[in-house]
Symmetry: C2
Subunit: 349 residues, 2 copies
DNA sequence: TATTAGCACTCTAAGCTAATGAGTGCTAAA
DNA sequence: TTTAGCACTCATTAGCTTAGAGTGCTAATA
């Protein structure tokens, strides 16, 4: 599709633009990348690349700037894949996350911080949602006369808790009985599966009319229903340093995006199924406010089930090769941590 | 100190400036506030007020702008105190926080959101720290072969949990015994008190050499040590709409402030002891990056002990009367909620 | 035929000037 | 004591010019 010369020029333009957000001129390309052609020739090639949609001109007498299509081509064909010396990242991940292995929320929060510091873009992480979390155990503890605390332990070390008001007042003994029942029935399943089974069981239960069990099921349902994915984002300070965010309107957009965590979950969820690192460039994105941003994500796993997502959000003019490998490394790191935390449990299951 | 005329003028200037961040001119004051003097007279008065430090001029031929001292005088003497029609706020607090009574973290998070929406400034909340939290009960639950989950229930409905690796492997029975011991010893005390007593007990324990108990104490200490206050801030989108934040540098400052939660805790802590609503205006603040911001806080209580802090951060040009009553109402509301959640427990104590 | 040198042309960014106007301080009159 | 009048200051804006970077086209060159 593109001859070697065009590719060289395209690469040069994108590479230069990633390092410095000034439109790239023909003269500059020949000089800086010491190509064996004159500026005039480069101009012709650039004109061709523009016609093909890989480059564009902000105005007639300016240099060229990559388009989304240009970046896409770059990511898929031209990128330097061997940016693997993330010693620094691994070090700081290890250092920061060491003590947090068992509390995945703090862990993810710290992860986003580490990602943003190393990438200078926004770091983002989504905790396992109902599909990704496996129930390990459920505990019921009396809290006050008419309230009980329901505590869910999951495989990822998440502990979800809720204090529920209940009409019947259970003895500690009752609670133990209920808990034992629930554990027997549900532990080892994902939250999503449990929700489904709860519906079935509760339908069945209408016939059984066992108050204790039906109470148990409804308790369980209450907690499950508020079990959602959680988003962590950090690095606002980092991206404010980028020249593309010197415009107030742009900043407002970003801030709206960040504060609306609901929208972020939705966005990320659509990328969660795919294997490996996902790259969405600029207008490929569906969300209006992110059409000038790129997002790179990868899923971390718990066992072999995808659990949650980590990633980076930055301008389309992003250092893709570095960002992609950062995300990749981080996702693998998290997967490993979850593995260590959970293996003795999976063995016993 | 100030005659009635000067006060009228000062009030007019501040009132006008709060509504619209343009330097206020003498002509404008006579017109808008229909004072019985000519612009020339007003000018004289303004010159006096400037000399006294209540007003200042951005440049020679501009109108006047209130100084921090001016705002301080306004807040203490001139403010309209009867801005109590916070029906909307109470409604939305009630609606949003209804389901969250027992999870104070989510509760505070939602509170900041509500505060920011109603004030159009940053909403801020700090959860009870070790001084404010009273231990209600402690539970120990086996998590895996070599780990146990320690769960703290506090009076504010906070549940703090940590999963600890321990060298000895305790039976469920052992754990129950330990838990009973810890509850007998420590429930009803604040976290801070417990930390102190732990130190004493552990010193004593050297003589006793009771492994189970000493293990219990060390477990307890581990969890206690990570018990800190938690900050919630929201409303970035709101304050970005204000004209004072049209400058990128200002935004960077704010974003640094927001992301450094540690600094915020420190700042807020210094205000936590005082009774009622606290107002810190501009450079009265110690933190360099907040010298152009004002902060309004109030403590919410649990029983009669101060628990945590809620507040608003905005520009010095802030609608103080509305902001102050917003914060006041919100703090009372939280206190009430905590009271409802906890009273049956305190009865029994 | 592919490449390149040369040149006229385009467009932005930066700097300069002048005009505008809001607001002041001072003085002298009421 | 208050106020009208007036000269003065200074930020803001618009208009204009210049410099410079980069282009596209054409004609010469290898």
């Amino acid at each position: 599709m593109l001859d070697e010369r065009s590719i060289k020029v395209l690469w040069a333009v994108i590479n230069s633009y990633i390092n410095n957000p000034d439109p790239v001129g023909s003269r500059y390309v020949t000089r800086k990348y010491s190509l064996e052609f004159s500026p005039a020739t480069i101009r012709n090639i650039m004109a061709d690349l523009e016609e093909l949609g890989f480059l564009s001109q902000p105005h007639t007498s300016a240099g060229r700037v990559p388009t989304d299509k240009g970046y896409r081509f770059y990511v898929e064909n031209l990128m330097d894949e061997n940016v693997c010396c993330h010693k620094g990242l691994i070090d700081s991940l290890t250092r920061r996350l060491e003590d947090l292995r068992e509390d995945i929320y703090t862990l993810l929060d710290e992860t986003t911080r580490t990602l943003s510091i190393h990438s200078h873009y926004l770091g983002i992480a989504v905790s396992p949602g109902p599909d990704g979390s496996t129930l390990r155990r459920i505990e019921l503890i009396p809290y006050s006369d008419d309230r009980i605390a329901v505590i869910l332990f999951t495989n990822e070390g998440i502990i979800k808790h809720k204090i529920l008001k209940n009409n019947f007042s259970f003895s500690r003994n009752d609670l133990n009985k209920i808990a034992r029942y629930l554990n027997r029935e549900f532990s080892g399943y994902t939250i999503k599966e449990i929700r489904q089974r709860l519906l079935e069981e509760m339908a069945k239960d209408k016939e059984l009319c066992d108050t204790l069990i039906s109470q148990a099921l409804s308790l369980c349902g209450d907690v499950m229903s508020c079990y959602g994915a959680n988003v962590f984002i950090s690095g606002l300070t980092e991206i404010l340093e980028l020249p593309e965010f010197s415009d107030i309107e742009k900043i407002k957009e970003i801030s709206r995006t960040i504060e609306d965590k609901h929208a972020v979950i939705k966005l990320i969820d659509s990328l969660a199924d795919a294997e490996g690192v996902q790259v969405v460039i600029g207008a490929e994105n569906r969300v209006e406010e992110m059409k000038t941003l790129s997002i790179i994500t990868s899923t971390y796993k718990e066992g072999d089930k995808p659990a949650g997502v980590v990633g980076i959000i930055g301008p389309t003019r992003m250092d893709y090769s570095s960002a992609i490998s950062l995300v990749d490394v981080t996702a693998r790191f998290l997967t490993e941590i979850l593995d260590e935390g959970g293996h003795e449990w999976r063995k016993g299951r």
